[in-house]
């Protein structure tokens, strides 16, 4: 069943979009990350213009994070103070990101930048994950009761000024750290259409040293508002948010998420992370091949300007 997307200006099979949304939801349910980092490249693979894919994916991220935030908020797993500080950076970063996006689109390099950023990011994350899950796997086999590392370490970053107390996270760190982190995630969010949870969550744990219990909720909180900011700005400046596309992705995601969390409960964590790492690396490899292989035609068209 084909449907015409009014902003992407092309028709596409409804089930492809529902499936992509479902897959993103599945990942969201399994790993607590948004899944946008896989859905956006997939949308580009099926022929949605990258600018529309990114902007509409940001719209989908809103729905995804609000439904996870619902649960996390009720359980009191959101460090509001930390969330707001992150958000300050996030709003600045995503606004800057949209400006950068608009500029790159105008000079015709946006597709290239999106592809390169994805390759770099996905291979880094996929590599780290597979390394980590392999190591855990072998360590578990050798010593089932592996000793835990130090919970909280002190790095150079803890010497930065503007220190703030975050009671819920039991942290006393410089506010510049979460602001800077939020800023970077904001830029990623604007250019790649991802929520950024898959970068934010590890950064919060390893860089900021936040307790794991509040990480997911706080990340959801920040991601929700940053994605809303990106959706608004993309729509206002580029007009590239396709709500029909977004609704289909969201509906797929709504169904996929609970299936994902049920699967996650059944499979052991190491296997799950290993599978995820393979998936991520496969997408990164595909994108890299696209960049390296000579295109079937070197020509493409930029923005069409109707002369009035």
């Amino acid at each position: 069943m084909e449907i015409y997307l009014p902003i992407a200006e092309q028709s596409i099979n409804v089930f492809v979009l529902l499936g992509l949304g479902g897959m993103a939801g599945l990942l969201a349910g399994m790993f607590g990350v948004g899944g946008g980092f896989l859905a956006t490249p997939m949308l580009i693979f099926v022929g949605i213009p990258p600018a529309v894919a990114v902007a509409s994916q940001a719209n989908q991220v809103i729905a995804n994070s609000v439904s996870s935030l619902q649960v996390q908020w009720r359980r009191g797993n959101v460090d509001l103070r930390m969330g707001l500080v992150l958000l300050l950076g996030g709003v600045l970063g995503s606004s800057a990101g949209v400006v950068l996006f608009t500029y790159l689109k105008r000079i015709g390099q946006i597709d290239f930048v999106i592809a390169v950023l994805y390759v770099v990011m996905l291979s880094a994350i996929g590599g780290l994950m597979s390394f980590e899950s392999l190591r855990t796997y072998f360590r578990q086999r050798r010593h089932p009761e592996a000793p835990r590392g130090k919970l909280h370490q002190h790095y150079l970053v803890h010497r930065l000024p503007l220190k703030m107390r975050f009671y819920k996270s039991k942290l006393y760190i410089s506010a510049l750290l979460p602001i800077g982190l939020g800023f970077l995630i904001g830029i990623l969010s604007a250019i790649l259409g991802v929520g950024g949870g898959f970068v934010l969550v590890p950064a919060m744990i390893y860089l900021l040293g936040m307790p794991t219990s509040v990480v997911i909720g706080t990340s959801n909180f920040q991601v929700l508002f940053v994605a809303a900011n990106v959706t608004f700005l993309q729509s206002a400046t580029n007009g590239t948010v396709d709500v029909v596309l977004a609704v289909l992705l969201i509906l797929g995601g709504v169904v996929g998420a609970p299936i994902g969390s049920r699967l996650a409960a059944k499979l052991p964590g190491v296997v799950l992370r290993g599978l995820m790492a393979v998936l991520i690396l496969a997408v990164a490899a595909e994108l890299l091949v696209e960049l390296l292989r000579a295109p079937s035609s070197p020509y493409s068209l930029g923005i069409r300007e109707v002369l009035r």
Binding site: S11, N238, V255, S297
Partner: protein, 282 residues
């Protein structure tokens, strides 16, 4: 509690219904500038800039199987039938042109092993769509020249103005690139199509429109040629536009991006919230 559950049930029913709205949309025939749906077949008295066209007898009439191309939610491209009648002897040429626009052609080159856009060239007055069809090989028909009125695809593109200056050989390459891309998108369907003549006076040709079709008023012309001269010509506009739900959404997005953005956010919040709540209770 019971009321909450009832509300949720209603939402559950409403969510798929909402998702289906685009598909169920029927195309209301309301395009501002287009002609009314029942336009009578165009007759050769239509004003044409070319003075070579005799004004008097209706030697040529044509009509289209549809007065407009409506881009609905189910649109997957469309084939329109153009048909008509002419006074023999003679040959028929049909030219369909989409609205002109400035197109920027990008060229990828290998840079540090990666393929990225390195060159760009703008062209003004590029027709969004171009399809020419004839009942005889075009070279033979146009051998005596038609005062530049009828242009083959190659001639039409050769006349496209470039933005800025560049070496001729480079410009030619970009021009070829432009044609390549447009052809890939189905917007320049063929070098030349075939007009079929039946009973020596009826003609017909299929006009293929792809699913990625730019909106605007398309220009449809048919010419009657005798001995390489245009003896009659008819012209009519063919509006191509999104209709119904699609038209509204696209209109909001382009005219009122802020408003549209807020709407998109609210939609996502609502669907995400309800969807999450419902799925957790199932």
């Amino acid at each position: 509690m019971r009321r909450v559950l009832l509300g949720l049930l209603l939402c559950l029913l409403a969510v798929p219904a909402f998702a289906q709205t685009p598909r169920l949309e029927t195309p209301p025939p309301s395009v501002p500038n287009g002609p009314p749906p029942s336009v009578p077949p165009s007759v050769s008295t239509a004003p044409l800039p070319d003075s070579a066209i005799p004004a008097a007898p209706p030697d040529l009439v044509m009509d289209l199987s549809s007065a407009r191309v409506s881009i609905t939610s189910a649109f997957q491209g469309e084939k329109l039938l153009l048909f008509g009648m002419f006074d023999p002897p003679g040959e028929v040429v049909v030219v369909v042109q989409g609205p002109p626009a400035r197109e920027t052609v990008m060229r990828k080159e290998r840079f540090l092993g990666l393929w990225l856009n390195t060159g760009r060239q703008g062209f003004d007055d590029v027709p969004a769509y171009y399809y020419i069809a004839a009942s005889q090989p075009l070279q033979r028909l146009l051998a005596r020249g038609t005062g530049g009125e009828i242009l083959s695809l190659a001639d039409r593109l050769a006349s496209v103005r470039s933005v800025g200056s560049r070496e001729d050989s480079e410009l030619t390459r970009f021009r070829i690139g432009l044609t390549e891309v447009k052809r890939r998108e189905g917007l320049y369907p063929a070098d030349i199509g075939q007009v079929t003549i039946q009973a020596n006076r009826l003609f017909r040709v299929d006009l293929p429109f792809p699913s990625r079709l730019p909106e605007g008023i398309y220009d449809v012309r048919a010419y009657l040629l005798r001995d390489g001269k245009i003896v009659a010509a008819v012209q009519r506009p063919l509006p191509v536009s999104k209709v119904g739900f699609n038209a509204q959404l696209a209109g909001w997005a382009s005219r009122n991006g802020e408003f549209y953005g807020l709407g998109a956010i609210l939609m996502a919040l609502l669907v995400g919230w309800l969807g999450g709540t419902i799925m957790r209770r199932l």
